[in-house]
Symmetry: C2
Subunit: 226 residues, 2 copies
């Protein structure tokens, strides 16, 4: 999976969240593309980057309930109707959005009164015009309050968001973890990793069997109803 992350942050170097995510991007072998306050690269170059990717991620902090100005500048400067309607078809569009507000703020009656899905509809409309597949938003709430275990979980989930097949499922997640372990084992042999790998393999087989059984049951029920 060739993933391009378009990173827009007014104070990138001072952002603990972005510096943390950068590790995950490296591990997931995604392209980390920081965009500045001015548009210095040629359009052709910027558009080529987008064309080369299979999954494009807009990554930014929520500023006044939408993307920061510099990402909007980037869009207004580099995107053209012709380009997005012809060159991005079938690619995936994801969003990694960080906010200092808690998850509970983003609902009717909550502090913001709207969901992130609602606030980011303009990006969804862009995906619609480009005939891209819209990925579920990857939100990061109050990064500063995460403890170390939560941060590790976030780093893993972020890597999966960048590189795992979508839509997400228990089977795909298990396959992804197995793949990571296999890669790990290829470089360093560790009996614990062997055991984990074996365990995950068994889980996966079990999952696939259960899933098939469920399908049969459901199919049976449908037959009965007809």
């Amino acid at each position: 999976m060739k993933t391009l992350i378009i990173v827009a942050h007014p104070q990138l170097d001072n952002s603990a969240t972005q510096q943390f995510l950068k590790q995950g991007a490296t591990l997931a072998q995604a392209t980390w593309h920081e965009i500045g306050a001015t548009q210095s690269t040629a359009s052709a170059q910027e558009q080529r980057l987008l064309q080369q990717a299979e999954r494009i991620i807009f990554q930014f902090p929520l500023y006044w309930y939408t993307i920061p100005a510099q990402l909007k500048q980037w869009q207004d400067h580099y995107l053209t109707t012709k380009f997005i309607e012809q060159k991005l078809i079938g690619k995936q569009l994801g969003v990694v959005v960080s906010t200092g507000l808690p998850q509970t703020a983003f609902q009717a009656g909550g502090r913001v009164d709207f969901s992130l899905d609602q606030l980011l509809i303009p990006l969804q409309a862009l995906a619609h015009q480009a005939q891209m597949t819209w990925l579920p938003i990857f939100p990061i709430y109050q990064f500063a309050y995460l403890n170390e275990a939560e941060q590790q979980q976030l780093l893993m989930d972020y890597q999966r968001y960048l590189s795992q097949d979508q839509p997400d499922s228990l089977v795909k997640r298990s396959q992804w973890y197995l793949q990571q372990l296999t890669q790990l084992n290829a470089t360093a042999t560790d009996p614990l990793v062997d055991l984990l790998q074996e365990q995950l393999n068994q889980n996966l087989l079990q999952l696939e069997t259960s899933s098939d059984t469920l399908k049969l049951i459901k199919a049976g029920e449908t037959d009965n109803l007809e």
Copy 2:
């Protein structure tokens, strides 16, 4: 009604729509405030302008399904949580948005697949945080295709959007037209204007009587139901 129009357009001088609307703003005695690509004024000055207004209007062309970059820059630069939560309470927030697409594009299944209300939710969230009253959006679809009669209608509707009491109603609209005629008559005496004024006055009386009657009927029905 003290109305402030914050005008954001990347090519303001070349925009026929904006030059046309400017006449309406003058007639409605609203403050026309153009914001450029850079933020040169002091924050205090810009915030004072906002504080002095009773109705604040964001006026812009739709760019990639949302506000143009320069308006986002203005927001990111001048607005602070403290300012908007303390100084804008009770004011009205309106939006005048122009687009080259037809009205039919803005619906599920239409070309854009979303309504303007949905696309501009981030501004609605801003109004919510500031405890401002959100006015219905004033959309201008395909200005270039309007004939002269349609343009004149637009100019009148735009002036009403800037200066008439909200929410809009038949009575308030008639009152607004009557007020315009009275002002016109004060400067130039014209028997036709007298006649129009008389006619509007009678219509308004008739409207108010009908409205009262309707209220009585409705009240009666409610009594019967109880």
